[in-house]
């Protein structure tokens, strides 16, 4: 009997030891994983760091090996050449106009339509909504060419119309607003109607104020989309003064042999800064927009 308890205690202690060791191993693996995540995060930021510091490097340092992890002879020459030698500020303005236009139109049309899809019942509703969703998911390269020909026929090349109007309907925005508005209780709408509010009054005074977070997210996404919509802006603009910033700056790549790397990096940095500012200011809206938009419809 005594033997039994001794061996039992021994076995228990062994088991405990094993548990402690496996817990320690798990903890070790866990911290290793955390380390990997930290290194990964830094690697993810690395190109941006490289771009910004690169914009302050003279060509001699930019092509030095081993590379300079920090510019030893910082210079503003690249920035001067970027801003003086090219219509860079005009490109910046163009990008702002295009992105703001896309965002403004997107907000107007999407809130109106999202309200109807989220809060009203009407014949053909599902069909009309699924049509929007379907085109949102499918690659748009097939419509790129006909749209391009349409712009040509309208003589819209090198105009802000071409950069903005084709995006007046923003299916993702409609989807986002619809998802959000569905959560607003119908009682609120009914109460306003009983109080004599018009159809538009209900939308404007009751529903819209409650939808602010979604509208914010929508505006930011539409702006980012309008800012980064490279392929379209590339094909519908040609005149130097009508290029957008990403398009204008990207043309520097073709001249890599003759243009200093630093100038290219300064251009890339300039194209990046506005989006960075918006992202840092409205980080929560980004998260909101992504998560609301992904919930099943």
């Amino acid at each position: 009997m005594a033997d039994f308890t001794v061996s039992q205690a021994k076995a228990e202690r062994l088991q405990l030891q094993k548990a402690v060791w496996s817990a320690r191993l798990t903890r070790l693996l866990w911290w290793l994983a955390v380390l990997v995540v930290i290194v990964g995060s830094l690697l993810s930021l690395m190109p941006i760091y490289w771009m910004i510091t690169g914009s302050f490097k003279v060509q001699h340092d930019a092509i030095a090996y081993p590379p300079e992890l920090f510019p030893t002879h910082p210079t503003l020459k690249n920035w001067e050449r970027l801003l003086a030698g090219m219509p860079t500020l005009r490109w910046l303005l163009n990008s702002f106009i295009a992105a703001s236009g896309v965002a403004l139109l997107g907000v107007i049309t999407s809130t109106l339509a999202g309200y109807a899809f989220g809060k009203k019942r009407f014949p053909g509703q599902n069909l009309l909504f699924w049509l929007l969703l379907l085109t949102m998911m499918l690659p748009k390269q097939i419509s790129l060419i006909p749209l391009f020909i349409m712009m040509r026929d309208l003589k819209w090349f090198d105009t802000y119309f071409a950069l903005i109007i084709p995006y007046a309907a923003y299916p993702f925005g409609i989807f986002l607003v619809k998802q959000f508005m569905q959560g607003i209780p119908n009682d609120l709408l009914d109460a306003a109607k009983i109080d004599g509010a018009s159809e538009f009054g209900v939308f404007w005074h009751v529903v819209l104020p409650l939808t602010k977070p979604a509208v914010g997210a929508l505006a930011i996404f539409a702006f980012m989309f309008g800012w980064n919509d490279y392929i379209w802006q590339l094909v519908v603009t040609n005149k130097q003064t009508m290029l957008t910033l990403p398009v204008g700056v990207s043309k520097l790549v073709a001249g890599w042999a003759t243009i200093d790397i630093g100038v290219g990096m300064a251009g890339a940095t300039l194209a990046f800064i506005p989006m960075l500012v918006i992202f840092l200011l409205f980080q929560d809206y980004f998260v909101k927009g992504i998560t609301v938009g992904a919930v099943k419809g």
């Binding site: 995060s41 490289w50 989006m275």
Partner: protein, 312 residues
């Protein structure tokens, strides 16, 4: 009550219902008119165009049936290469993105809020900066002689270990596509990471507590609880990433122009070059149709295969 009984629902005609809902139609009109004009109509027009021989001059457009498609698959070697490359590209990028973003989310989720938002911000930054900006930086980083990548690889002993000369990442056929894939991966993680973190936040703590009381290990909890509950999000990420990656273009245009030796030709780059460099609109549109069919059917099968296991 008696009034509504006198006019039963089903006796209203279709037109009456539409008339009663006229306000709703007015609300969707500002979005639906441009949607029809600038999205739907060009889409259908693209389908039509794919059956035409169509160049700059509209008067010379000519209906040629399936000739464009026949040519694509029988006489256009570069397109076939582009097709293979694009599939390869998707097969590399999509699994890596899904696995990395789940890994990151699971590791980061229990960390303090500040750490969580730092990691989220780090991986979302490339999404914000956009493809053009990143492509320009990466060209420099990938340079064989003075690029940062080769410097870092040398520093950790990569070349010494393998005993090979330094690689020109974008200039060699073996590594060019892989290099572009790396760039695309770098900006494809941010969004899925946010989604997975949000999904993890929706899993109830009680479930984990119950599993721990039952003596489940962290590993078991991950496989038996976390992963299955993440499945709707995984499906969404899988489908959207696949659709996006099939349309890879900016990196090709800015970093390799499809080279070296067609090693980085992709479908959308072929569309761009045919339509906007060679002015073969009909032929480019046919490629667009092929892309649409491929992406549409793959997205459909992903939903079919994985969607039926998802419980909403």
């Amino acid at each position: 009550m008696t009034v509504s009984a006198a006019y039963p629902e089903r006796r209203r005609t279709w037109w009456q219902k539409i008339w009663e809902a006229r306000a709703a139609y007015l609300f969707i009109l500002p979005a639906y008119i441009p949607f029809i004009v600038f999205v739907l109509y060009p889409l259908l027009n693209g389908l039509r165009l794919s059956f035409y021989e169509a160049g700059v001059n509209k008067a010379k457009w000519r209906f040629i049936g399936f000739d464009n498609f026949v040519r694509l698959f029988t006489r256009d070697d570069v397109f076939i290469i582009a097709l293979k490359n694009t599939f390869l590209f998707v097969l590399i990028v999509v699994p890596v993105v899904v696995v990395i973003s789940i890994f990151l989310a699971v590791i980061v989720y229990p960390l303090p809020r500040a750490a969580q938002s730092f990691v989220r911000m780090s991986f979302y930054m490339p999404v914000v900066s956009g493809g053009v900006v990143l492509a320009m930086v990466w060209i420099w980083i990938f340079n064989r002689d003075f690029g940062l990548l080769n410097y870092l690889l040398e520093a950790v002993g990569f070349y010494q270990l393998l005993g090979i000369p330094k690689i020109g990442w974008l200039a060699q056929t073996e590594t060019a596509l892989l290099s572009l894939a790396m760039v695309v991966i770098s900006w494809s993680i941010g969004q899925p990471l946010i989604l997975f973190l949000a999904a993890l936040g929706n899993i109830s703590e009680e479930l984990y507590d119950a599993a721990k009381i039952d003596g489940a290990s962290g590993w078991q909890i991950f496989w038996k609880i976390t992963l299955p509950l993440l499945q709707p999000t995984t499906l969404f990420v899988l489908v959207t990433t696949t659709i996006n990656v099939f349309q890879v273009f900016v990196v090709v245009l800015l970093m390799t122009l499809g080279g070296p030796a067609n090693a980085t030709q992709t479908i959308v780059y072929r569309i761009y070059e045919n339509a906007f460099v060679f002015y073969k609109y009909g032929y480019g549109a046919a490629m667009g149709v092929v892309l649409l069919i491929i992406v549409g059917s793959i997205a459909y099968f992903q939903f079919k295969l994985l969607g039926q296991e998802v419980e909403y």
